[in-house]
């Protein structure tokens, strides 16, 4: 197996072959390649089948999210955050609501905090289930893993639809709480899903974890060292697979995460297999959190009645709200000048920042590995390009 020795960052250098590079082939993967999870392009320089240089090219989906939010009211940006990462609209809602709540000094009722944890952990479950499905699909496991992942995702989306009215674009969180009360019987449905979900995880473990082909394709592939991951600002499962114990739920303890008992799974080698396993283990930890939250959820109001929905004007100031989304640290930085819309609105998207080390993970591996490594970063282009 060929090992990589990442030496220097070459992301911003032109890829044009110089005089010493005869025999190299520059190819363009994407922007509409089936493996690229959206409109993403990779400029790869190949020596035979080995990747020598790689430059991610983004910007094909740019939709001006930050500028639109600066010209719209605080409330009107909430449905746009759904569309950032359409696999985790509820966690995106939470990150934005958290930033606004910090900015305006709003207290969230207890029940709403529990609802937020429940919805966020369900979001993490369906995101990881689908990511693993896609990963295996990219490895050539045609069908089954992706279908099983999607089957579980659909069960969770049914819950989201019953609660918020929409399967993907939930638009559920509000400053100071949540939009609507839980429908009757909803918590029982969640309990049923949480009880049944480990069956799916066991099924996945049986199907994949000890599969020789999977091990051959993932172990020792796409290694990302601890030091480089920290230097690159990588977060989420990709960072934890490299062995760095950093999870915002433990480090920054937003919401009520300090009340729950759960562990942070860590990898050792930072290869594709570790990134896969960290996600599998994280799903089991999410189930633990959900069980505790469902046990303890109190009755009470779901939104702070003093918070204004229309004509919301926080005092001048700035705030940064961040959460551990399924992909990593998702943060919203807001500056208020006292008017009805933010003076500055900035998103810190985990997908985009995790992408910056793609070349270091891929250098020296084959094109087939490149697709798999790219799959383990788990990006959504809506979040990358904003």
């Amino acid at each position: 197996m060929q090992t990589t020795a990442p030496t220097e960052h070459t992301l911003l250098e032109p890829l044009a072959t110089s005089s010493g590079d005869e025999g190299l082939l520059e190819i363009s993967l994407g922007p509409h390649h089936p493996s690229t999870h959206g409109v993403f392009r990779m400029d790869a320089v190949l020596d035979g089948e080995r990747v020598v240089k790689l430059k991610p090219v983004v910007g094909y989906l740019h939709r001006n999210h930050e500028k639109i939010a600066e010209s719209a009211s605080y409330l009107a940006s909430m449905p746009y955050t759904d569309r950032l990462d359409y696999f985790g609209s509820l966690t995106n809602n939470w990150a934005y609501a958290l930033a606004v709540e910090k900015l305006a000094g709003i207290q969230v009722p207890e029940r709403a905090e529990y609802i937020r944890v429940i919805t966020a952990e369900l979001t993490r479950l369906q995101n990881h289930a689908t990511t693993i499905g896609f990963l295996l699909q990219e490895m050539g496991a045609s069908g089954s893993p992706l279908m099983y992942g999607f089957r579980e995702r659909e069960t969770i989306l049914d819950l989201f639809e019953a609660l918020t009215g929409s399967r993907m674009m939930c638009n559920y969180m509000r400053f100071g709480g949540c939009r609507v009360e839980l429908p009757s019987g909803w918590l029982d449905r969640v309990k049923k899903t949480v009880t049944e979900f480990p069956r799916f995880l066991d099924e996945f473990e049986n199907l994949l974890t000890s599969n020789e082909i999977l091990l051959a394709r993932t172990q020792g592939i796409g290694t990302l060292s601890k030091e480089l991951a920290i230097q690159g600002g990588v977060t989420g499962p990709v960072l934890r697979a490299s062995g760095v114990n950093y999870d915002i739920r433990k480090v920054d303890k937003y919401g009520i995460y300090d009340r729950f008992n759960f562990k942070i799974p860590l990898g050792e080698h930072g290869d594709v297999y570790d990134r896969y396993m960290v996600r599998m283990l994280e799903m089991r930890e999410s189930i633990k959190i959900l069980e505790q939250a469902l046990r303890d959820i109190p009755a009470g109001p779901i939104i702070d009645p003093k918070t204004k929905i229309r004509g919301f004007r926080p005092k001048p100031g700035e705030a940064y709200g961040r959460i551990e989304s399924a992909k990593g640290e998702l943060g919203f930085y807001l500056i208020s000048d006292g008017t009805g819309n933010p003076y500055r609105y900035r998103v810190r998207p985990p997908s985009f920042i995790n992408l910056t080390l793609l070349e270091d993970m891929c250098r020296g591996y084959s094109v087939a590995d490149l697709i798999v490594i790219f799959g383990t970063i788990d990006i959504v282009l809506g979040e990358v390009d904003r």
């Binding site: 009107a76 909430m78 746009y80 019953a162 099924e203 599969n211 020789e212």
Partner: protein, 205 residues
């Protein structure tokens, strides 16, 4: 041993394949359009305008305050306010929208218009079979296309509609009580003044 992992995986896929003939949980496909899943009560798609009574034009609850137009994130609502007032379903003179268009090709179904409307006039529909061959004209809905009765609202969102009706009835009762109080007050004041005058007169006498 080499191959055991693969064998285990094959057993798992076989169990799912044959299980799908036995267990409904393992077969999640629905043969749309013959077979349909029940819609969640909270389901939402595009907005519609609620009207009371039988006539959509006079029954519209919308008073063209244009708050939804201002708050709409993708700016897909277009309203023109009337110059005159006309009696609404309750008989109170109100402004009304002479133009109320929603560009459904732009709408992102966020339901912020529903949340900000102070008159319970705009709600979310659940209809999703909207394909048309005319993308621009066909998806710009005017107020007649948007108007749907309160009965229809009760059919699609029964719990929410009952709450809304109760809230409106309460508000109306409050307004009636206030109006009654305002009506009786001048009478009482007038009677009081008359009495005072007569007292005054008598004292002068």
């Amino acid at each position: 041993m080499l191959g055991t992992g693969i064998a285990k995986g094959l057993v798992e896929t076989a169990r799912n394949f044959f299980g799908s003939y036995v267990s409904r949980d393992r077969l999640t496909t629905v043969e749309y359009p013959e077979e349909r899943l029940p819609q969640a009560e909270a389901a939402r798609n595009f907005p519609f305008l609620v009207y009371d009574g039988d006539d959509w034009k006079s029954g519209l609850r919308c008073v063209a305050c244009q708050i939804c137009e201002k708050e709409c994130p993708p700016k897909c609502i277009f309203i023109e306010k009337s110059k005159d007032k006309k009696p609404d379903a309750v008989g109170k003179p109100q402004f009304y929208p002479t133009v109320f268009n929603i560009d459904v090709s732009v709408c992102m179904s966020c339901q912020i218009c529903v949340e900000v409307c102070p008159f319970e006039a705009i709600k979310m529909d659940t209809d999703f079979e909207l394909s048309t061959d005319d993308r621009f004209g066909g998806l710009l809905w005017d107020r007649q296309q948007l108007a749907k009765s309160n009965t229809y609202y009760h059919e699609i969102h029964p719990t929410e509609a009952t709450e809304v009706d109760a809230r409106l009835a309460e508000e109306k009762a409050k307004a009636d009580a206030k109006a009654k109080a305002a009506e009786t007050k001048p009478v009482a004041a007038a009677t009081g003044a008359a009495q005072q005058t007569s007292h005054g007169a008598s004292s002068a006498e």
